[in-house]
C-alpha cells in the first residue's frame, strides 16, 4: 500500500467489500462517495476530488468499522494499565471504530460527570468513537440504581448500562433497571454470575478444576442468572443484553428466550471462542478471566450459537491489567485479557476459516449487530450497517492472507496480558477509516 499525499478523499483501489468482487471505492467528504470499476482509478482519473489519494488495496477485505460493545479502558483510575488514548489506539489497530467503555473505573462511571469525562477523552484521542457504558447501580454495589436517566441525557448519550465485573444479582433491582431504561431505549448488559455460587471461584468447575485444586466457577452460576433475567425481560418487555456468554447451557437458554420473542441479545468474547480451560494447567494467570475459560464442548456450542445468530455479536471484553496484577500466583491475579488487537484474527480462525461465517457474517457479528444493540445514533447506525454509496466512510481494511505470531510487547495497549502471545493468528488490519478520516494506515496509527 502506498500513499502519495494526504487528502480529504481516498480511493481504495481493487478492494473487496465484504470479501466479494474487487471494486474501486471512493471515500470523500466522510462518506462512501462512489464505487467504480475495479482497477479503473488512478490519481489522474477524471471525477476525483482534488488531492485524492489512491491506495492500492488489491486483495484487501473491506468491512464496516468494527464495534466493540465491551471494552475496559481503565481510565479514570488505572491509567497504569490502560488509558482512553492507549486503549482506543489498540482499538483502531484492531479495526474498531467504536468501543463501548465499561463502567468499572475508579471512580465508577455511575454519574453524568464521569461518563462525559470518558466520552471527551475519547474525542480528544480521536482514534475511534468512545461510547461510555453507565453503571446500573451506584458504585457497582448492586444496592440502588445509579442516575441512569442523567447519563442517558448527558453529552455521552449513554444507552448501555452495565455493572460488568459484578452481577446485578438482586432480582428486584434487576427488574427495576430493565423497566427504567425503557424510557430512553436503553439496554441492561448483564454480567451473569450468581455470586453465591462463585464465592472464591478461580476457574471453570469441572475436570480441570478438580485436578488443579482451584475452586470452581460453575456453568450454572451463569445460566441461572441468564434464565432469570430472560424471564424478567420477557415479563416487563425490556431489552436485555447478556455479556460474555461462556457456556453451552447459556447458548441454549438464549435460544429459548429468543424463541419466546423476548428482546434478549448476547455477546461472546474471542477468547471463549478459541481457548479452553486445559491451558490453566500451567497456572499462568494470563489465562485467568471472568467468566472463566470453559471446555471444548462449550467452545463448540458458542461457535454454533454465533454462527446461527443465537449469539448476536462478538465483544472483546478487552481487560488490560498491569504486570503486577498478572505476574503473581493464580489466586492473586486479576481476571481479564487483552482483546482489541486480536479479535478479528481470532474470529477469522474460529468462525471464518472453518466456514461458520462468511465475511458478511463477520461484518454483522462484529460491526452491525453490536451497533444495533448499543443503540448508536441513527445516521451512524445506518452508516455502520452499510458500506454502500452514501454511507459514512467508517470502514476497516484487512489483509486476510498473512499469519502472524502475536507478540505482547508490540501491542498498543499499556498492558501485556494477551493470552495469544506466541500463537500464530490469521489476518492483519491494514487500514481503518472513521467517517472518511484514516485512523490506521499501513497497519500503523495515523
Amino acid at each position: 500500500m502506498t500513499t502519495n499525499g494526504s487528502g480529504q478523499s481516498w480511493v481504495l483501489r481493487q478492494v473487496r467489500p465484504l470479501g466479494g468482487d474487487a471494486v474501486d471505492v471512493l471515500l470523500a467528504d466522510g462518506v462512501v462517495a462512489a464505487w467504480r470499476p475495479p482497477g479503473s482509478t488512478s490519481p489522474d482519473s477524471e471525477g476525483l476530488p482534488l488531492g485524492t489519494t489512491v491506495l492500492d488495496t488489491a486483495g484487501l477485505i473491506m468491512l464496516p468499522g468494527l464495534v466493540d460493545l465491551h471494552t475496559h479502558l481503565r481510565e479514570p483510575g488505572r491509567e497504569d494499565a490502560e488509558t482512553v488514548e492507549s486503549g482506543t489506539r489498540a482499538a483502531a489497530l484492531g479495526g474498531y471504530t467504536t468501543v463501548f467503555a465499561m463502567a468499572n473505573t475508579n471512580p465508577v462511571a455511575d454519574t453524568a460527570g464521569v461518563v462525559e469525562q470518558v466520552w471527551r477523552l475519547g474525542l480528544d484521542a480521536g482514534h475511534c468513537d468512545v461510547r461510555p457504558v453507565g453503571a446500573v447501580t451506584v458504585g457497582l454495589a448492586g444496592e440502588r440504581l445509579a442516575e441512569l436517566g442523567a447519563m442517558a441525557t448527558s453529552a455521552a448519550e449513554v444507552r448501555v448500562f452495565s455493572d460488568d465485573g459484578h452481577c446485578v444479582s438482586d432480582a428486584l433491582l434487576m427488574r427495576r433497571a430493565l423497566e427504567y431504561v425503557k424510557a430512553f431505549d436503553g439496554v441492561i448488559a448483564q454480567h451473569a454470575e450468581e455470586p453465591r455460587l462463585t464465592a472464591g471461584a478461580q476457574m471453570n468447575e469441572g475436570v480441570m478444576a478438580a485436578r488443579l485444586g482451584l475452586p470452581g466457577w460453575p456453568a450454572v452460576a451463569e445460566e441461572a442468572i441468564i434464565a432469570r433475567d430472560a424471564l424478567l425481560a420477557g415479563h416487563v418487555g425490556s431489552r436485555l443484553h447478556v455479556c460474555h456468554v461462556s457456556t453451552a447451557g447459556s447458548v441454549e437458554l438464549i435460544r429459548w428466550a429468543k424463541a419466546k420473542g423476548w428482546q434478549v441479545t448476547a455477546e461472546v468474547t474471542p477468547h471463549h471462542l478459541l481457548l479452553t480451560d486445559d491451558l490453566i494447567s500451567s497456572f499462568d494467570p494470563v489465562y485467568k478471566v471472568n467468566p472463566p475459560l470453559r471446555t471444548a464442548a462449550d467452545v463448540a456450542a458458542l461457535r454454533a450459537g454465533l454462527a446461527d445468530g443465537t449469539i448476536d455479536c462478538v465483544a472483546t471484553d478487552h481487560a488490560p491489567h498491569a504486570l503486577e496484577d498478572k505476574e503473581t500466583e493464580w489466586a492473586a491475579a486479576r481476571p481479564g485479557m487483552l482483546g482489541l488487537q486480536t479479535a478479528l484474527s481470532v474470529v477469522m480462525e474460529t468462525m471464518l476459516i472453518p466456514g461458520h461465517l462468511d465475511w458478511a457474517g463477520v461484518a454483522d457479528r462484529m460491526a452491525l449487530a453490536p451497533a444495533r444493540i448499543g443503540g448508536l445514533p441513527r445516521p451512524a447506525a445506518e452508516g455502520w450497517s452499510s458500506i454502500a454509496v452514501g454511507a459514512p466512510a467508517t470502514v476497516t481494511l484487512l489483509d486476510p492472507s498473512p499469519w502472524r505470531v502475536v507478540e505482547a510487547d508490540t501491542l498498543a495497549s499499556r498492558s501485556r496480558n494477551t493470552p495469544y502471545a506466541g500463537r500464530s493468528l490469521p489476518g492483519a488490519i491494514r487500514a481503518t477509516f472513521l467517517r472518511g478520516r484514516p485512523t490506521v494506515l499501513d497497519g500503523k496509527v495515523v
Binding site: 468447575e205 478444576a209 478438580a210 488443579l212 485444586g213 482451584l214 460453575p218 492473586a332
Partner: protein, 307 residues
C-alpha cells in the same frame, strides 16, 4: 526434564520408583553412627513457607541438613512478604541469595509452578493450596511399601475432605501410577465435581469400603467447612465418616491406618485408632525425612542434567 518436583500428576512410574528406592537408601543412612552426609555440601536450600507448617518445614530442614546443604528458612511471617511483597519479588531475592533449591509452601494452588518460572534453581512443592503435596504422597507410598512390601495392587481408601485436600490429589495420582486401586470416600459436598474423571472409585459409604481396604488414609476435616454448609454438624460427619474403634475393627488384620496430620482427634479419627499398632502416624514422620532427602538428592545431587 527440568529439575523440579511440582506435582505427582506428572511423575512417571519410573521416576516415582527412583524416589522411593533412593528414600530406602536414605533410610539406611539413619542407621549409621554418623547420620550426616557430605553430599550437598555447598548447596543452598531455601524453605519458603507462606503458610505455617512446622511439621513439613522441619522435615525438609532435617533432610537438607543431613545432606549437608545450607538451609535458609524464609517464612512469610515477619518478612517483607507479609508487607505485600509479591511472590515474584521474593523469587528474585532468593535468586540473589543463590538458592539451589526452593522448598515452597503456599496457600495458592499453583504458586510453586509460577515460582519455577522465575528462579533458576529447583522448586519443590511442599504443599500448594488445594492442589498438591507431592512429598507427602511419596512418603505415604514409601510407608505403605515398608509396611506392606508393595504399593502395586493395594486397595487404598482415602476418606474425608477430598475437595480441599492437596494430600488426596497427590496420593490419587501417585498411588494409581504405582498400581494401587484407590477409593475416595466423602460426603458428596466434599468431593470435586470433576472427580468422575479421576482414576478412582467413589463411595459415600465408609462401612462398605473398609473391609476391602489394605490402607485407609484419613484426611483432616476443618471445622470451618461446617459454616459453608459442606456438612450439617461435626457429630453427623463423625458418625458417617469418622474412623472410630468399631469401624477400625472391620478392617482386615494387616490393614494400615494413615493420617497426614495434623489430626483432629475425635472428629475424623478416634484417639484409640490413631494410637493403635496399625497406625503409621509416627513412622510417617520419620519416613518423611528419608523421602525428602531422596528428593533433594535427586534434584541437587548431580550437575542438573540427566546423564
Amino acid at each position: 526434564m527440568k529439575g523440579h518436583l511440582l506435582s505427582t500428576e506428572d511423575l512417571s512410574r519410573d521416576d516415582a520408583l527412583v524416589v522411593l528406592d533412593t528414600a530406602e537408601r536414605m533410610a539406611r543412612v539413619a542407621e549409621a553412627s554418623v547420620r550426616k552426609l557430605p553430599t550437598l555440601r555447598g548447596r543452598t536450600v531455601v524453605n519458603l513457607f507462606f503458610e505455617d507448617s512446622t511439621r513439613t518445614r522441619t522435615s525438609f530442614e532435617v533432610a537438607a541438613k543431613r545432606l549437608s546443604a545450607d538451609v535458609i528458612n524464609f517464612s512469610a511471617r515477619g518478612s517483607s512478604v507479609s508487607k505485600g511483597e509479591s511472590l515474584k519479588d521474593t523469587a528474585q531475592t532468593l535468586e540473589a541469595m543463590g538458592a539451589d533449591a526452593v522448598v515452597c509452601r503456599h496457600p495458592a494452588s499453583g504458586a510453586p509452578h509460577r515460582l519455577a518460572t522465575w528462579v533458576r534453581g529447583s522448586v519443590v512443592n511442599a504443599g500448594d493450596g488445594t492442589h498438591e503435596h507431592p512429598t507427602q504422597a511419596l512418603l505415604d507410598a514409601f510407608t505403605m511399601r515398608r509396611r506392606l512390601g508393595r504399593v502395586d495392587g493395594l486397595a487404598v481408601t482415602i476418606v474425608g475432605d477430598v475437595l480441599h485436600s492437596r494430600v488426596a490429589r497427590s496420593n490419587v495420582w501417585l498411588l494409581t501410577t504405582l498400581g494401587a486401586s484407590v477409593t475416595v470416600v466423602a460426603p458428596p459436598t466434599l468431593l470435586p465435581l470433576g472427580v468422575s474423571s479421576w482414576p478412582v472409585e467413589v463411595s459415600y459409604d465408609l462401612d462398605a469400603v473398609l473391609p476391602k481396604s489394605d490402607v485407609v488414609m484419613m484426611l483432616r476435616v476443618q471445622r470451618e467447612r461446617m459454616s459453608a454448609a459442606f456438612f450439617p454438624t461435626e457429630r453427623e460427619y463423625s458418625r458417617r465418616y469418622g474412623l472410630d474403634v468399631d469401624r477400625a475393627a472391620t478392617l482386615p488384620e494387616h490393614a494400615l491406618v494413615m493420617h497426614p496430620g495434623p489430626m483432629v482427634r475425635g472428629m475424623e479419627i478416634a484417639s484409640a485408632v490413631a494410637d493403635s499398632a496399625r497406625s503409621t502416624v509416627v513412622e510417617q514422620v520419620a519416613n518423611g525425612v528419608s523421602v525428602r532427602m531422596a528428593v533433594l538428592y535427586l534434584l541437587l545431587g548431580g550437575s542438573g542434567e540427566v546423564s
